[in-house]
Amino acid sequence: MAGWPESPRLIGTEIPRLDGLAKASGRAKYPSDMNPPGLLHGAMLWSPHAHAKIKSIDLTPAEKSPGVKAVVGVMKEGATVRYQGEVIAAVAAETEEKARDAVRAIKIEFEVLPHVVTEAQAMDPKSPEVFKGRGLANNTRKGNVQKNGDPEGGLEKADVKIEGHYSAPVITHVCLEPHGLTAKWDGPDKLTAWASTQAVQVTANELAGRFEIPATNVTVLTDVMGGGFGSKFGADLWGLLAAELSKKADGKPVKMFLDRAHEHLAAGNRPSAFAHVRLGATKDGKITGMIAETHGTGGASGGANFPLPYVYLVENRSRSHSDVFVNGGGARAMRAPGHPQGCIIMEAAMDDLADALGMDPLEFRLKNLGERDVVNQGGAPAPINRTKVYQDQVRIGAELIGWAKRKPRGTNGAGPIKKGYGMALHQWGGGGAPDKQVECMINPDGSVEVRSATQDIGTGARTILAIIAAEVLGLEVKEITSNIGNSTFKPGQASGGSTTTPSMSPPCYNAVLAARAELFEKIAPKLGAEPGDLSLAKGQVLVKGEAKMSWKDACRQLGMVPITTLGKFTPGLSANGVGGCQFAEVDVDVETGVVKVVKIVAVQDSGLIIDKMTWNSQVYGGIIGGLNYGLFEERVMDPTTGVMLNADMELYKLAGASDIPEIVVRAYETEEMKARGVIGIGEPPTIATAAAIGNAVTNAVGVRVPHWPMSPMNVLNALASNQGKA
């Protein structure tokens, strides 16, 4: 099949998203906005305890509560709850107030059991073993040691060595639209659900499986949705409960969305990361060896591993990782799973070693990239050496941040406000799945539709499909209907791993090319020309470059039958594997510990960019997400009571408008990069920000601040510890 157009009219320009005005005027209907006739409201009883046995439970008072139409028990007498927020029962009632009253009416008695809710508490040999039968010791699953070369020998050969303990806390997704869906039965075996999901088809299949009905009888609709960040890939227990309650209530629709506290507790989180790292290098700055022991918690379900070493070439290395289990909600994928943690740990150690060597950390980094770092091409024309890409990107970024102004660690003046600079590198895949399909329809009235069972989680996926169609057909973007977010359409990509755009763009392009070819076949005879002589531009059909007929008139020639084509993935239109670097400038008040991020610079490649406007937004958003991780976010658990202390949005801190620094985004978009085809951008730009900020803070204050976020407490503790006051 053909490659992407060589001189595109629309691709790569800044195009506002198709659903932007609907969203900005309150007209877009989110799954949580749906109010179908007869709607019932769901509410759930969840465990207030971190660990407890249900001594008795009586749902009858809920069933008798005013306005209640259905009650479903999830956990029975004798069952054990393992985290605050674990779902015990659900009700559906005429109003949400009544549903909540009914939940409160449930009679339940707990036998509270000993809990562990922090990593330190879980690993303490004096703490109880709360996850029996999993083969754990001290609530910890030790992983195998991954070894390469001779790590001990490598460290012995080093001229300079550092040893560091670094950590980053558990954070939660805080999707603004809570998890949930509205379910409605039409007859005994036909189900419709409006779901806030990143994967309409996964959600549909789960619902079909749970109720043992044909997948074709389930329709999941997600026209727009309010954020997922990796935590919304299925129906979830609450989605299944909504459908079950609806079934019990004679098919009346049931809306079940989590409240804010429940979101924090039960709807996913990014695991913590703790590391003890030894890293050594020769005096000319070549890494000789690394030994790292790491652990982290993914709550009650594990999954806290992360990549390490990260980005840099470390031939002699060993790494052992342990998953720590705590009485907390399970981890879920969160924007570039594992990478932000790996980046923080690696880049902190890199900076500390550069400082010990007395070397510019930028130069030290460049010295330790592999000579060749060839990334998966996914069928793209020429191999890419990511090391060369990094070298270019770092040069550009250093210039934009003013790296030359950076002073060595701890030499930032005598006043209380210290300026610092830091940097970090990251990488990601972001390739396309080869099994997705897009349909294209050209109707006799000239309207055009592309459709597939993917969804737009705010990335701009809907707009991207329309841009591709408009490019091929010589139309305006707004003339294309991009019909997605419906599970009954042809297989579309789940929105995760930065794979949506690279998965969906090739089949979309192929579908529209095929539709155009068919149109040319049909109308060429009527224009007295060969199909090969035809082209499209500015709403006109051209014969050998000369406008002969309007688009609408050409489509009218189709009579009653629209053109319908199906596009599949072909290699060469998308690729996998990106790199990027970020730089941070901060001002730190060493008397209060308050960090002000002054400026962030991001240089990022991602192959061929389809919509520069939504691409920029994704990069800005990734950086701001990373800024939250770097400065503010932390799930705070109380070891004594076992509950989360900040399951809200005032004590769980997120940046507001006044916290946003100057952000400079530079797309690394050379001809070589464009030739690679489309690559996803959702995740890469969120990886390096927190690491770069932490390194900038350390550069400013003169001592390593080893624990993220860079909160006043962590900054002041680091300063005090250096003065022997901790």
């Binding site: 998203r17 900005a24 409201h41 639209e177 701009g460 939504t614 809200d648 949005m649 997120l654 408008a657």
Partner: protein, 209 residues
């Protein structure tokens, strides 16, 4: 005081004060004050012909210039009433306790958090949600669209409404004033760069510049 009690520091602490003989007197003073305030409040309520509401009550609200009627409970928030009873779903429920601004609604010209405002307290007031805003080139929604001041869009109604309310009182804000004006709102996708651009562009457009 016994001998084992810690020695008071210089000056009396509040605890020592209350513990001492003046406790009874202090309580009496406070009680008198509270009683007077309660009596005054009761008189005010009587003068205002206030009534105790309970159970379900019928409520008429002026929403976007339309009279809308529904049944609510006295505890129902304005936000839930708009969204669940009146199908006015522009304002969103996110934090449900006045920290994120997604529910921002304009009541009698002032932006409020509708998630912590009781619906029954809005009777007779002019309620505006972003559905009533100008969607043309001079409106705030258009500026948010053109400057990509949104991604998933769930915080957007709150930002758009807060922005409109800010521009109504300050038609020519500086960037710093825009930041302050929108600090009551939180975006998780990280769309602030587009939001700030959009707010400045909207200010210009509203003046017809």
């Amino acid at each position: 005081m016994t001998e084992n009690d810690p020695k008071p520091k210089i000056g009396a602490s509040r605890r020592d004060f209350l513990r001492g003989s003046s406790l009874a007197a202090a309580t009496a003073v406070l009680t008198q004050q509270v009683q007077a305030e309660v009596a005054a409040e009761a008189a005010n309520l009587q003068a205002a012909d206030a009534k105790m509401l309970s159970g379900e009550v019928s409520l008429s609200l002026d929403v976007n210039g339309k009279a809308m009627t529904c049944t609510v409970e006295p505890r129902s928030t304005l936000l839930d009433t708009l969204r669940d009873r009146l199908d006015v779903t522009g304002p969103k429920r996110v934090c449900d306790r006045a920290s994120c601004g997604a529910c921002t609604t304009i009541v009698d010209g002032a932006p409020i958090y509708s998630c912590t405002t009781l619906a029954v307290s809005c009777s007779g007031k002019k309620i505006e949600t972003l559905e009533s805003f100008d969607t043309g080139e001079r409106g705030v929604p258009h500026a948010f669209h053109q400057h990509d001041g949104l991604m998933c869009g769930y915080c957007t109604p709150g930002f758009v409404t807060a922005c409109k309310a800010m521009l109504d009182t300050n038609p020519s804000p500086t960037l710093e004033e825009v930041r302050k004006g929108l600090d009551g709102n939180i975006c998780r996708c990280g769309t602030y760069v587009g939001v700030l651009e959009a707010a400045l562009a909207a200010a210009k457009a509203m003046k017809g510049a």
